[in-house]
Symmetry: C2
Subunit: 258 residues, 2 copies
């Protein structure tokens, strides 16, 4: 079996995946999270150089982990391989970040790398069905938020939503779950509502895994929410112990449903 | 023909509807907008008293205009009629604000009043199809936001949404359009995106008419948006001249589509 490389984005996930076994840590210049601790610092403009480095190191499997962000291209810095890919990348960019990420993954696969999801390397971080902390809240608000996410899923929108008293207080957009929770905290505090977080139906879990961490619990509590419902097996807990501790400290229930 | 009463909520709409012809202005204690300038100050706990007042004044048609907000009930202040209605109002409350509003309207109809919508009394404020200010933006972002609203409509969620570059930046929840625009301004400034505002498919326009005003244009501009698309004939312009002036001053395009 060949070596593993982790294309590391922001947050705790790259470190958690690195703990699953030896891996070359690759960081991309300009991405959130910086380039500290990387074995290889790459540039999106020089994918040809990156592929050659990885092949030379015997890498056969690649895991994308952590939050990525679209970065600008410097046309002057392009290597020949990336220049050849440019029309394709530009077309994908026009269709949004998900399309761009899917295309970058496809390019890695065409180079012979196997893509491994963070949830495959750390299955212990995925929540099984049932109560995780506290007592699940009555079904109404969670069902309402789930219905909204189900309606938006085919449009590739919405990983999370907040409902309280039968009303929607937040629907996640590009800015992410934390930004939505801050919005709810500011505009509808003390609702006692529920946050629901799920993978989108078409979401490629190998490269874009929904996560919650202790910060999510803290933000939900600050927004006056009483519970968090996640999708069993398809949402990762970053640092499960810290998540449980935050739930206990802030009185937030956490449970997983199919 | 009998007299007209306006049940006035917050904002400019009650004044605009009052300008359409003589009317008794009713304000409810505790509602946003206060009770200033009212001919009748009523309480939700004393609907029986309000109905008697209206009948005595010869009122046969009622127009609900302006933003309403759910207020608490003081059980000690209930009159006999309202006490009899309480089980029904409580049941409607459990299904959310729209259900409560629909039920209150039904109660007025059962009392013999005809409900007139703000758009019926001021049809001049509804935008016809076409460009209203500036040049409509390319279709992509408006179509994306429209698709999101269409998906959410059956769930009675979402009068407005913001898209930019193919991505969703805001989806309206209970807190309203202005709160969503402030969220976009803070979390995704300078996007050049488009705000789309439409009535929900099941929305009762007689009592809950979507509106935009000069403040909407200013907030959209502050959020870095380049255009606003509204639904022709089903979204009212509060003060069309001021809206046009704000569009011109801030370089925001405005157009209406079916």
């Amino acid at each position: 079996m060949g070596a593993r490389a982790i294309i590391a984005g922001d947050g705790a996930l790259p470190g958690l995946v690195a703990a699953a076994g030896p891996a070359l840590i690759v960081r991309l210049e300009g991405m959130p999270g910086g380039t500290g601790g990387a074995d290889v610092v790459a540039r999106l403009e020089r994918l040809g150089t990156l592929f050659a480095d990885l092949h030379r190191s015997g890498v056969t499997e690649v895991c994308f982990a952590g939050a990525m962000r679209r970065v600008g291209f410097d046309p002057a810095a392009l290597d020949a391989e990336t220049r050849a890919l440019l029309p394709r990348l530009t077309a994908a960019m026009g269709q949004g970040d998900d399309a761009l990420l899917r295309d970058i993954v496809a390019i890695f696969e065409e180079q012979g790398f196997t893509i491994r999801g963070a949830h495959e390397l750390r299955p212990d971080l995925a929540a099984p069905e049932g109560a995780i902390a506290g007592t699940p809240r009555p079904e109404g608000d969670a069902a309402r938020a789930r219905a909204v996410l189900a309606a938006l899923g085919p449009l590739d929108v919405g990983q999370a939503a907040v409902a309280a008293g039968g009303q929607m207080l937040g629907i996640e957009t590009l800015q992410g779950t934390d930004a939505m929770l801050r919005f709810v905290a500011k505009t509808a505090p003390g609702s006692g509502g529920v946050l629901v977080k799920r993978a989108k139906p078409g979401q490629d879990l190998r490269v874009d895994m929904p996560v919650i961490g202790p910060d999510t619990v803290t933000l939900a509590a600050s927004a006056g929410l009483s519970g968090i419902e996640i999708e069993a097996a398809r949402v990762l807990l970053l640092d499960p112990e810290a998540v449980l501790a935050a739930c206990a400290a802030r009185g937030v229930a956490l449970w997983a449903v199919p």
